[in-house]
Symmetry: C2
DNA sequence: CTGAAAGCGCTAACAC
DNA sequence: GTGTTAGCGCTTTCAG
C-alpha cells in the first residue's frame, strides 16, 4: 500500500466525497439546523474516511470565539514560583474542573510585571481567548481596569481594589478573621497576636480587620501584629518578632496556613507547646494545614468551589454579553483540628 | 465628544488611514522585509491612532501557527487535584518560565480518562496549539503514540513506556535510588526498607531498582518494600505496614517527599526518633522536604529546569520539524538535611 | 520597495 | 432541507 503525503482534509474534501455542499457538512459537524438523516449518515462516513477535523483558526475567525479563556495569575512580586503556592494549585484545579465540562480550555498567564500585564491585554484584544479569569491579590493591580477598558469579559477572584463594574467571586474574609478570634477567645487565650498577610492585599486587611474587631468586642482593644508574606519562611520570621516583643503571647492568628506552619515551627523551637502554651489558628485549610504537626485549626476558604464559580460566571457572561456584573461572596468556616 | 461604536480596526482600516496597501501594513507589523522608513512611520502612526491589534485567528489561519502549546497533565487516576501536588506546580513553573520568554502560552489540559485523551488529540489536530508537552507518569499511557500518530510535535516529561521516536526529558531515577542507598549505608543502617511509588510508574520502578541494586552491592540482598501512591497519606500507611512487618527497621527510603513526610509522622507517632532511631531519605526536594520536621534529607530532582528544557526542546522542534527526537537526562543530587 | 490579488477553512445569510 | 455566495482578517506570491 502506497502512502501519499496528503494535506489535512478540509470541509471541501468531505463535501466532495459525500456529494454535498460545504454548508451541509458544516451543519452536521456543528449539529445546527436540520439535516436529512440519510445525508447525515453519508456525511459522517465521509468525515470518517477522510479523518476530517475542523480547523480551529478558520472557525474562530468567523465565529469570533476561541473556546479558551485566559487564567491570569497576577503574582505579588514573585515570578513563576507562585505555582508552588498551594493556593494557586487549588484555583487551577477548580477552574480546570469546571471548564472541562464545557469544553473550554484555560491558557495560563503570569502578570507580574508591567510588560506582562500589557501582554495579557494584548492577548485578549487579539481575540486569542474569549475572556479572562484574573486571580489577583494586590489592591493596586491595574489589570482589572485595563481589561475592562479593552472590553474584555473578565471575572476576578477577589474584589477589585477600586470599585468598578466587573464580576468577581470573593470570600468574606472579615468573617473569617472573626471566626479565628472567636476560637482563640473560646480557648481562654489572654494575650493574642496576629501574623497578617501583606497589607497591600485586600484579603489580608480584611482578615486582620475582622480579627481585630472581634477581639475588641471581646475586651481586647489591642492586638499586636507582625506582617508576613504568605510564605512559611515569612510566618517563621513574623512569629519570631512577635515572640520577642510579646513573650507572653498564648494565642496566634496567622492569615494563611503556610505562615501558621512557620509560626508553629518557631514556637516549637522555643520549647513552647502548641496548643497548650500557644494556640495557633491558620487560614485557608490547604494542604499544609494537614501536613503540619500539630494539624492546624484553620479557617476554611473553599478555593476550588470559588474558582469553579468564577469560571462559571465568566462562561455565562460570555453567553450573554449584556449581562450586568455579578458578585458571589462565599462564607468561611472554622475547621477545628489540633493547633487551637 | 461623541463616541461612536466602532468595530475593532483591521489591517484594512490602518492601510486606508495610512494611504498604503494592506500588504505594507502587514510588513511593518511583522517586521518582514524592508519597508521605507518614512512609510513605516506613517503606518505606525495609523496603527497608534486606530488602536489596531492583529487578529489572532486570521493570522494563524494562514500561518498555521498559534503561538500556544498544550501542557497536558496525564494524572494518575486522579482528577484536577493533581494540581495540588507540588510536583505539578513545579512543572508548570518551569514551563511557564521558559515559554514566556518566547511569547508562547501554555494551555492546560488534563488527560485522566479516555474521553479527555481523545479531546487532547482532537485539540491538537484542530491546530488549536502547535505542539504538546506531556507530563505523564504511567508507563501504559497511550497519549504519546496517539500524538505521534497524529503527527503532533510532542515532548514528554519522562521516557515513554514503550520505546518510540519521541523527544523527552527525564531524570536518572536509578542514580537517585543509589544516592539514597549510599546515604543510608553511610549512616550505618542495618535494616532498611523502602516506600515505593506506584509500580506502574516507570520512575517508581527505577528509583526502587537503583536503590535495591546499591543496597545489594553493599551486602543487603533483600529490601522490604511497601507500595505507596505518592501522597502523604499513602506514605503514612506504607510506613505503618513496614513497621509492623519489620519493627527493627532503622533506615527508610521513600520515593518522594510527600510520602517521606507521611513516613516521618508515623515514626514519630510510634515514639521513634528521626534520624536517631530511623533515618529517612525522601525524593524530589520539593516544598514538603523543607516543611517537614525534621527537614528531609532527599534526592533532588531539578523539576523546574527539566520542565523548562522540555519546553525548549518543543520550541526548537517546532522551528525545525525535520529534527530527530531528542532526549535529555538530568542527574539527581543528594541534599543532606536533618532526617538522614 | 510596494501594491494587487489570491486564498487559508470555515460559517451564515440568503435563495431555492 | 440544501446549496450558493459572501466574506471573517490576515499573509504571501507575484508583478511592477
Amino acid at each position: 500500500m502506497v502512502k501519499r503525503i496528503m494535506a489535512t482534509p478540509t470541509l471541501e474534501d468531505v463535501a466532495r466525497l459525500a456529494g454535498v455542499s460545504r454548508a451541509t457538512v458544516s451543519r452536521v459537524v456543528n449539529g445546527t439546523r436540520n439535516v436529512d438523516p440519510d445525508l447525515q449518515e453519508t456525511v459522517r462516513n465521509a468525515i470518517e474516511q477522510t479523518g476530517y477535523t475542523p480547523n480551529h483558526a478558520a472557525r474562530s475567525l468567523v465565529t469570533r470565539r476561541t473556546g479558551t479563556v485566559a487564567l491570569v495569575i497576577s503574582g505579588a512580586g514573585g515570578g513563576s514560583d507562585v505555582f508552588v503556592d498551594p493556593f494557586f494549585g487549588r484555583v487551577t484545579a477548580g477552574v480546570v474542573d469546571f471548564l472541562r465540562t464545557r469544553g473550554v480550555h484555560p491558557v495560563l498567564m503570569l502578570a507580574d510585571t508591567d510588560r506582562t500585564r500589557v501582554d495579557v491585554v494584548e492577548f485578549l484584544r487579539q481575540g486569542s481567548a474569549d475572556g479572562a479569569l484574573l486571580v489577583t491579590t494586590h489592591a493596586a493591580e491595574s489589570l482589572p481596569e485595563r481589561l475592562l477598558a479593552a472590553g474584555v469579559p473578565t471575572v476576578l477572584y477577589a474584589r477589585p481594589g477600586r470599585p468598578m463594574p466587573v464580576s468577581y467571586v470573593d470570600l468574606d474574609h472579615q468573617a473569617g478573621g472573626r471566626l479565628a478570634a472567636a476560637r482563640l477567645v473560646e480557648l481562654g487565650c489572654t494575650s493574642v497576636g496576629a501574623i497578617s498577610g501583606p497589607l497591600d492585599v485586600l484579603a489580608s486587611q480584611d482578615r486582620l480587620t475582622g480579627f481585630r474587631d472581634a477581639m475588641a468586642r471581646n475586651g481586647f482593644p489591642y492586638v499586636p501584629v507582625a506582617e508576613g508574606g504568605f510564605t512559611a519562611a515569612s510566618g517563621h520570621a513574623a512569629m519570631g518578632r512577635l515572640l520577642v516583643e510579646h513573650p507572653e503571647v498564648d494565642g496566634v492568628f496567622a492569615a494563611n496556613d503556610l505562615m501558621a506552619q512557620g509560626a508553629v515551627d518557631v514556637l516549637l523551637e522555643h520549647g513552647l507547646r502548641v496548643p497548650q502554651d500557644v494556640a495557633v489558628v491558620g487560614f485557608d485549610d490547604s494542604a499544609p494545614a494537614l501536613a503540619c504537626r500539630p494539624q492546624l485549626t484553620t479557617v476554611r476558604q473553599p478555593v476550588e468551589a470559588m474558582a469553579a464559580k468564577m469560571a462559571e460566571v465568566l462562561i455565562t457572561s460570555l453567553e450573554d454579553p449584556e449581562q450586568r456584573p455579578i458578585s458571589v461572596i462565599f462564607e468561611p468556616e472554622l475547621v477545628i483540628r489540633a493547633s487551637a
